[in-house]
Amino acid sequence: MTDTPSRTKSAPLTTRPADQHIAFHDGRRITVAQFCGQVQALAAALPDQPYAVNLCRDRYPLLVSMCAVMLRGQCNLLPSSRQPSTVREVADRYSPAYVVHDAEIDTAGLGAFRIPASALEPGEPAPAPEIPLDQLGAISFTSGSTGQSGANLKPWRTLFDSTAVNIRYMLGGAAGPHELLATVPGQHMYGLETSILAPLQGDICLHTGQPLFPDDVRAALERMTAPRVLVSTPLHLRALLGSELAFPPVQFVLSATAPLGQELAAAVETRFGASVREIYGCSEAGSLAWRHTAHTQDWEAFDAFDFRSKGEECTVYADHLPEPVPLQDVLAFSGPRHFTLKGRLSDLVNVAGKRGSLAALTELLQDVPGVIDGVVFQPPHENGIGRLAAMVVAPTVSAKTIAQTFRERVDAALVPRPIVFTDALPRSETGKLPRDKLLAAWRAHRSRS
């Protein structure tokens, strides 16, 4: 491979003016120059190991430590959860690794570096350092329903270039400075792109926390100045609407991880006075397209990506991706850059950012001793905010035993509930379980209970 002469071998950590605010942390706003100073100082203090499992809870410590790890020439490991078994698994695969964290946490028996609070106080300003483009900046892991997590390699080139593209589409060229709040974890690819990397290039001031309850979100938004950006998921947005609280106006609400739905999008637009931008992407390739869900079903592909279809399968190519990424969805193009989603090639589901395969979860259910037949599926949302459920034929096993088996093997978000017992599943003669028959049986059971 020959070098492209127009391309340099490194890119700056941040492209923003030194005096803009990059984050609101611990009650104060931090400038880009102060942030760069903190990154430089922290990089020098980190342990001398090639991999760092980054388990920071707050967003600003995560941003500073991620950048410090990269500046030191090390690679961030971003596991799909903080469960010690998951942390252990990624550290065994990429070794030697230490844990970098910002709060009391189970570090899975690994060597650990806790970021001192003093490292995040405004100190000596510094210019933006350069990072080699081919350096592996992070490995983002997707949760495997069973077996190993999938590892997605993110060289600095990928992180740097995709951030520039994301900002262009997510903020639609609107003038800043924007203040951004996110309800999703920063380690998850969608949260990473929107809430950790975006402030490195966009005129965005990041709010450090990760509010959960509607009143937390309201209080955090109240503390911010307009124009506000809220990065969230359908699950969190449904909870916000259900709370009947009054929220301050938000310019952009971003949503991803699960289909948003036109009605929910329109309701969020009304309640927040916002433009709701739904993001389509995957951990392997990052954000790929967006749509204004309240008004259209069509997704607009980001121009940095080339989508090539072959039958039902579609693969994404981009200069900044280490390799082409085959997509899990069936895309129907209505124009060169516009498409609709026509369902999934596989049976992957995403619950609160945790990805699982329904087939693998169903297999796990059927393997529980005493279970004769069973299925794990995603029932339609009624009043709840969206959890997997199971229907099972198992006269001698309790729901508690089944739930316990799942809890030991998969992330809590993927544990089905309720677990409903039945005499038989509505299987066809060939043994298939049609979704409409399954849902009818499910509804019949729910209306009885």
């Binding site: 926390g209 509010p211 959960l212 937390d216 209080a219 009947e244 905010i385 739930a403 978000a413 309720p418």
Partner: protein, 89 residues
């Protein structure tokens, strides 16, 4: 196990109904049993659903940034104390 108070009993019923804990008898939840992790094994999605149900039933908004809510979600007794305090505030 100590007996459930009236508010605790009501909350236990709300919890079982909201979270579809069909295998759990509301009366069997000990007021001091852990709700998350080891005890009932609830997670953050459950916390969100439960907070929503509590706001709709009692008009009380829970906050996770608030140290007291973290403690409140420890068990039924702590949770009912927070709700009673908020309701009379």
């Amino acid at each position: 196990m100590t007996a459930q108070s009236a508010t605790e009993k009501e909350l236990a019923e709300l919890l079982v109904q909201t979270l579809n804990l069909e295998d759990v008898e509301p009366g069997s939840i000990a007021p001091e049993e852990a709700l998350f992790g080891e005890g009932l094994g609830l997670d953050s999605i459950d916390a969100l659903e439960l907070a929503l149900a509590i706001s709709q039933t009692y008009g009380v908004q829970l906050r996770s940034e608030d140290e007291r809510t973290r403690e409140a979600f420890a068990n039924l007794r702590a949770l009912s104390k927070v709700i009673e305090a908020e309701r009379t505030a």
